[in-house]
């Protein structure tokens, strides 16, 4: 075997790049770190208001049913009444999701995005080595994840949680983040396009998430009934959890066993992925990916000669991915709800509680599908903005394609597709649960009602696009996060007053259609329509605004 000597010239300029990145991205980094601190401390504080007994009941309540176990993290018997474990039991998947999304986004930004916008050309020709960009990006990300870990630690500390366990808890999420940073860095070597990188990392994460959910659903819940009282004896995930880095985080048990060896798993994954990324750098040109850009057709097909056909073709990949992705997720959840039955079902006291919870669960899932819609709508509106800001809209509008036609066809496509996705996911859930036609009808009604709340947000995004185009991305993200955070899922978890919860359109739709108030639903749709109308007229009246 021939050993290759390390060529130190390859990393020349790393520190300069590092400093440059820290300078240009400092606000973004600061906001992320601060958000983790605030989130961690608020969530811990609010949940700390529960009594030990209440926590225990909530744990029992949400582990009895396999479908519900998909969204919570394992917990020990002793931990069930402790705030430190309880917080991670409930919010682990939210923290994981945020950490991973942050890493995918920032790693993509620092690597492939940089190359695609050709800023990397400048750097490649200004004396920096070929590995410098990747190395500096990874160093920055490791630092950022460490900062996030410390922020989470801080959030726990100010709530008086045990310091050592809290530190390990924080680090376990930082480690998860670092693995996804390295994965994204690899993807950035493979694909020559930002969206390709996001797709590779995003799909991998979806797989990881799914495996982890299955590990939860197939896990074991033990309980003993003594004198009509249930003694909860812990919820453990199945060994599938070890196939998913999200599962690793959850298997550490920072406040109980402290399985510190699991950090070795993270380290191994990080080293493998990082080496792969550096090896791939050698296999490609600056600006290109390892996966070659295929040559395309010289002539256009008949469909993409027309604006609507072209729009469909350009968004085809995203739309199909989204449609089948949500349908698949819905199916998995549905199957878990249907097949595996309800634990403790036979028990007289708890059986009733669990059956009730199990009945409500599909409707809660449908509201989750509806909360996913604004993410699609936001992405679609941002694609429109990008087409205007840095894309081909100027050229398109110089033809007989009018602004009105471009906009209305995009908006109609967006709205129709959002509802299509929502209904398709709902149907998929129903079929997987082997629900009766009557039940499916109820599910669809619930979807139509929840869809009203999502529609309001779509309308707002269009208003942003029309009135404050440059801020569309930030504002729409803020609106989504707020309306989910104070909405019908997290609002009660965070113990928010009704007045605050009312700001979220999702709070105005009860989970089950029979409890929903028709007037409020009609108002939601009316509000959504008005917002769309304002957005459309505003856009038609305003100037074309490219980014400069």
């Amino acid at each position: 075997m021939r050993l290759k000597m390390v060529d130190w010239r390859g990393i020349r300029g790393t520190t300069a790049l590092l400093r440059h990145t820290l300078r240009t991205e400092r606000v973004r980094f600061f906001v992320w770190v601060l958000s983790f601190f605030v989130l961690m401390s608020v969530v811990t504080y609010v949940n700390g208001q529960f009594t030990a007994q209440e926590m225990k009941e909530l744990v029992i309540h949400s582990t009895g049913e396999p479908g519900m176990r998909m969204l919570v993290s394992p917990i020990t018997a002793e931990g069930a009444g402790e705030i430190s474990r309880f917080v991670f039991f409930r919010f682990s998947f939210v923290f994981s999701l945020l950490v991973v999304l942050m890493n995918i986004q920032i790693a993509n930004r620092l690597t492939r995005h940089e190359e695609e916008t050709r800023r990397a050309d400048l750097i490649a020709t200004s004396g920096a080595g070929r590995y410098a960009r990747l190395l500096s990006a990874l160093l920055v990300l490791v630092g950022l994840n460490f900062a996030v870990a410390l922020a989470m630690w801080g959030g726990l500390l100010i709530n008086g949680i045990e310091p050592f366990g809290s530190l390990i808890a924080g680090l376990s999420y930082g480690a998860l983040g670092v693995v996804f940073a390295a994965l994204t860095a690899c993807a950035a070597q493979l694909s020559s396009h930002v969206s390709g990188v996001a797709a590779i990392s995003g799909f991998t994460f979806a797989g990881v998430f799914l495996i982890n959910s299955l590990a939860g659903a197939r896990g074991t819940v033990e309980g003993e009934i003594v004198n009509d009282t249930l003694h909860f004896q812990g919820f453990e995930a199945s060994s599938l959890a070890y196939l998913s880095p999200m599962g690793w985080t959850q298997e550490i048990y920072p406040f109980d066993d402290r399985n510190l060896w699991i950090f070795l798993l993270f380290a191994a994954a990080f080293i493998v992925l990082t080496s792969a990324a550096f090896a791939l750098v050698d296999k490609r040109d600056v600006g290109a990916g390892v996966l070659r850009e295929r040559k395309g057709r010289e002539r256009s097909g008949p469909i993409s000669l027309r604006p609507l056909g072209l729009a469909l073709r350009l968004d085809r990949g995203v739309m199909l991915g989204w449609l089948f992705g949500t349908m698949f997720m819905a199916f998995v959840f549905g199957a878990a709800v249907g097949d595996l039955g309800v634990a403790f079902e036979d028990h007289a006291v708890f059986g009733e509680v669990f059956t009730e919870a199990a009945e409500q669960f599909p409707f809660m899932l449908i509201s989750v599908f509806a909360m996913a819609v604004p993410f699609y709508a936001r992405a679609a509106v941002l694609r429109m903005r990008r087409e205007e800001a840095t894309g081909p809209l100027e050229l398109g509008l110089s033809t007989t394609l009018s602004k009105a036609r471009w906009l209305t066809s995009k908006v109609l496509m967006l709205i129709a597709f959002s509802f299509l996705c929502l209904f398709a996911a709902t149907l998929s859930l129903g079929f997987a649960m082997e629900a009766s036609l009557g039940e499916i009808g109820e599910f669809l009604a619930a979807a139509a009602f929840q869809g009203g709340a999502a529609f309001v947000l779509t309308g707002l995004f269009l208003v942003f696009l029309a009135l404050v185009p440059r801020q569309t991305g930030a504002l729409s993200l803020a609106v989504i996060i707020l309306s989910i955070a104070v909405g019908s899922w997290f609002g009660p978890m965070l113990d928010l007053p009704q007045r605050v919860m009312d700001f979220s359109p999702f709070s105005h739709v009860a989970f089950e259609p029979e409890n929903a108030e028709p007037l409020r639903i009609a108002l939601l749709y009316g509000f959504g329509m008005t917002a769309c109308a304002i957005g459309i007229t505003g856009f038609l009246r305003r100037d074309f605004q490219p980014s400069r």
Partner: protein
């Protein structure tokens, strides 16, 4: 003859920036009209208003006698545009984009399409995100030239082209002119403008400061004079109508306003003329003057 493009008293504000300050423009059918001016003068703004992409803050902009903002879609049936900074659909190939644009501009004429693809030596099978700046510009140019549009609006179309392609561009504009089509060409390449344009307008700080037939513009305004005299030419600089005096070893060159020529010649004659060459100014000579006034005034603004 009714002008094809007619802008009067055109005003444009971007927030507080006053980008166009009462601009007047009239382009006649069948002519190639050049629009030149320093960076930030307002060329792209003017062109975008004419295309109905921006709404004028004041004044009127008409193309084919229709309002540029209101009737944009109708106007665009008869017009083709090459933007300043060509940005395309990254996933499509150049060939597909050309087909798409041609189809929206009244149909694909196969002969013209392949003629211009060959002419610009263009590979239509690559994806747009893989094209260089010049190649992206070629996509837009081919889609404009090969269309049946009566009016071509070209905003710095040669910015990314190499010298050979820039020459091809000049030839194709000549062809377009022979077909009787009208062209509005904004450009920084004065050689292009000088060779191709029947008339030009020089725009500076949002107004037209000079416009007209190139030939008359040159002769009416100034001459460039190179002279050798027996006695030194002290005090030349101070004469009315004398600009840009440059002393070289044995020669002095300067620009002279035509209305002051008589006084200037007698000043020179008194110092014993050995040789004198007087020639009309190049576009560059005319243009540079406006460049310099801009710099003086911005400098003053910064001082104040």
């Amino acid at each position: 003859m009714e002008p094809i493009i007619h802008a009067q008293e055109l005003q444009k504000f971007y927030g507080k920036t006053h980008a166009l300050k009462g601009l007047y423009l009239a382009v006649k059918p069948g002519e190639v009209f050049g629009l030149i001016g320093p960076n930030g003068a307002g060329k792209t703004t003017t062109v975008r208003i004419l295309l109905g992409l921006l709404k004028a803050s004041g004044g009127t902009a008409e193309i084919f006698g229709m309002d540029a903002w209101q009737d944009a879609a109708t106007i665009h049936k008869r017009l083709a545009y090459v933007p300043d900074d060509v940005r395309l659909w990254g996933n499509l190939t150049g060939g597909e984009v050309i087909d798409f644009l041609l189809n929206l501009r009244g149909g694909i004429d196969e002969k013209r399409r392949s003629h211009y693809i060959d002419c610009f030596d263009f590979d239509p099978a690559k994806r747009c995100r893989a094209y260089s700046k010049g190649n992206r510009q070629k996509v837009a140019l081919i889609a404009a030239l090969a269309s049946k549009a009566e009016l071509l609006v070209l905003d710095e179309p040669t910015g990314g082209l190499d010298p050979l392609m820039a020459r091809r561009f000049q030839e194709t504009i000549q062809e377009i002119k022979n077909e009787g089509r009208t062209v509005l060409l904004s450009s920084h390449r004065l050689a292009d403008v000088e060779r191709l344009c029947d008339r030009v307008a020089i725009i500076s700080q949002g107004t037209i400061v000079e416009s007209g037939d190139l030939k008359t513009m040159r002769h009416m305004k100034r001459n460039v004079i190179r002279v050798r005299t027996r006695d030194p030419l002290d005090g030349l600089q101070k004469l009315n109508g004398v600009h840009d005096v440059i002393h070289t070893d044995d020669e002095v060159s300067f620009q002279a306003d035509n209305e002051e020529l008589e006084a200037i010649y007698s000043f020179l004659a008194a110092r014993g003329i050995l040789s004198l060459i007087s020639s009309p100014p190049t576009l560059e000579d005319l243009f540079m003057r406006h460049y310099e006034t801009r710099q003086e005034s911005t400098g003053a603004a910064e001082d104040g």
